[in-house]
Amino acid sequence: MTTPLLELRNVSRRFGGLSAVKNVAFAVGNGEILFLIGPNGAGKTTVFNLVSGFLHPDEGSIHLEGRDISGVAPHEAARLGIGRTFQLVKPLSGLTVRENVMLGAFMHTASADRAAAEAGEILTFLQMEHLAAQPARGLPLAVLKRLELARALATRPKLILLDEIVSGLTSGEAVTLAGLIQRLPERGVSAVGGVEHMMQVVMKIAHRLVVLDHGVKIAEGKPADVVRLPAVIEAYLGPKYRELAQ
């Protein structure tokens, strides 16, 4: 029984009186691509914030390779190997595409030249090398999403959190990006993504799904199986459709 890469053990987090996330538990293995599915408010972003140190759990604990990381600061989480993208893309608009990515690379080198070289390699992997010298300001959303990914990849994470990484993209753009995400395990990076709907692309690339509803995990398993669960259908379409699953 190998230690999972990431493990959430009965994690809860409240805001005021509201439980954003309640008793959530799941694990991610090395080389896995897991997706959290749930409508807005289901708790996906809260989970991402908890794992990456932007929030601390009220109850439960979060473990990275067995080590308890609940309550570390965000920059520490990054240094421990957790990369993330944000739902609202945040290009550092005063910098160029390459410089944005260099920021991530700087985590492992103090040399600007080496950081630039690494940034170049990642931009090539993500098929963006032709945009390297462009200022980040004003670029289209699909490019910015990829830039978020590039910057996070440059920190050489063990695990990358992809919050709504394909939302807002055309289906063509989403398919391309999903194809790149699928190749992350080859680079030694596991991924946890979060999406609102069970999109076809997600179905294709996810090894496993975890379904959240109002902060609670209601299902977990392979995409094909999860999609047919009555509880899941009910959460998405309402109780009337529960019978359809029977």
Partner: protein
């Protein structure tokens, strides 16, 4: 990223030498005094640039470090410390002071941060005004670093040395990881954290360097006029002037603070009579105009127009 290769270092060195040689050529003490002020504020602007320009933290309390340098220098000299040692020791003390202030103040965001910097400087000014040790409102006399006929010439050269040091530090910061990290902090602190940047630590580091340089400037200023009062070295005017010089020239650029100092203090000298009476009015108008029409400052605006950095 601004690269200082090829012909640029030579051109800059030549410019510095030319400025320096003015000290030999100019016979007029008054002219040297004016040049001293301009170059001093170029250096102070470059010091402020680290915190306000690169890191994007609007500190309006830098007078605290300027004054700490001046008063530190005066007090240490009075305690029989050799003058040049006192100068640097005062700057070290000011940097230590910055370390303490920074830890408190950088936890605050946006306007609260700026207010806190203003308040710290004000509290320092009030304390100095009310304590006998520091001479109260009457002030302290400050030893001169140089004597003889070429005093102002030497002061002017010292100011150039300070400005050049500040400039070189700016250049180093701009091309290094430190500089990139500061700019990331300026753009978005959350994203900066997400790529592993300890934002509190880096902000503090930039403040320490900035405070050290500012304090050196304050001590130099004190020794130039040989007498300091709280209202000359600890007022918000000094903080504002440092910020405006940099904003006007272009915060976050290398040449911005220098251009800004030449423009602002040069104009102050030219329009001296009107300015003396209402220099704050002019500062206010300048700030408003810069914010409305030239938020990147003169150099920043030019860089955007003609590309390159």
């Amino acid at each position: 990223m601004s690269s200082l290769r090829g012909w640029k270092p030579w051109a800059l060195a030549a410019a510095v030498l030319a400025c320096g040689s003015l000290a030999l050529v100019a016979r007029n003490d008054y002219l040297l005094q004016v040049l001293f002020r301009i170059v001093l504020f170029a250096g102070l602007g470059l010091a402020w640039n680290l915190v306000g320009g690169f890191a994007g933290q609007l500190s309006l309390g830098h007078a605290a470090f300027f004054g700490a340098g001046a008063y530190g220098f005066a007090l240490l000299s009075a305690a029989s410390t050799p003058r040049w040692v006192a100068l640097f020791l005062a700057a070290v003390v000011a940097a230590a002071f910055a370390g303490i202030i920074g830890r408190i103040v950088f936890r605050l965001r946006g306007p609260y941060f700026t207010l806190a910097t203003i308040a710290f400087a004000e509290v320092l000014r009030l304390s100095v005004t009310n304590l006998k040790l520091t001479g109260g409102a009457i002030g302290l006399s400050t030893p001169a670093l140089f004597s003889g006929r070429s005093t102002w010439g030497m002061l002017y050269l010292s100011a150039i040395a300070l400005a050049v040091t500040a400039f070189v530090i700016n250049v180093y910061v701009a091309r290094s990881r430190f500089g990139y990290y500061l700019m990331a902090i300026r753009e978005d602190e959350e994203t900066a954290s997400a790529v592993g940047i300890d934002t509190a630590s880096y902000k503090l580091r930039s403040l320490l360097i900035s405070a050290f340089l500012t304090a050196l400037g304050g001590a130099l200023y004190g020794s130039a006029f040989q007498f300091i009062v709280p209202d000359s070295v600890l007022t918000i005017d000094i903080s504002l002037q440092m910020a405006i010089v940099t904003m006007l020239g272009g915060a976050g650029t290398l040449y911005g603070p220098v251009v800004g100092a030449i423009m602002l203090l040069g104009a102050a000298e030219v329009f001296k009579n009107q300015f003396q009476e209402s220099h704050l009015l002019v500062y206010g108008i300048l700030i408003v105009l810069v914010v409305l029409f030239l938020p990147e400052g003169v150099v920043g605006g030019l860089q955007r127009r003609f590309g390159g950095r």
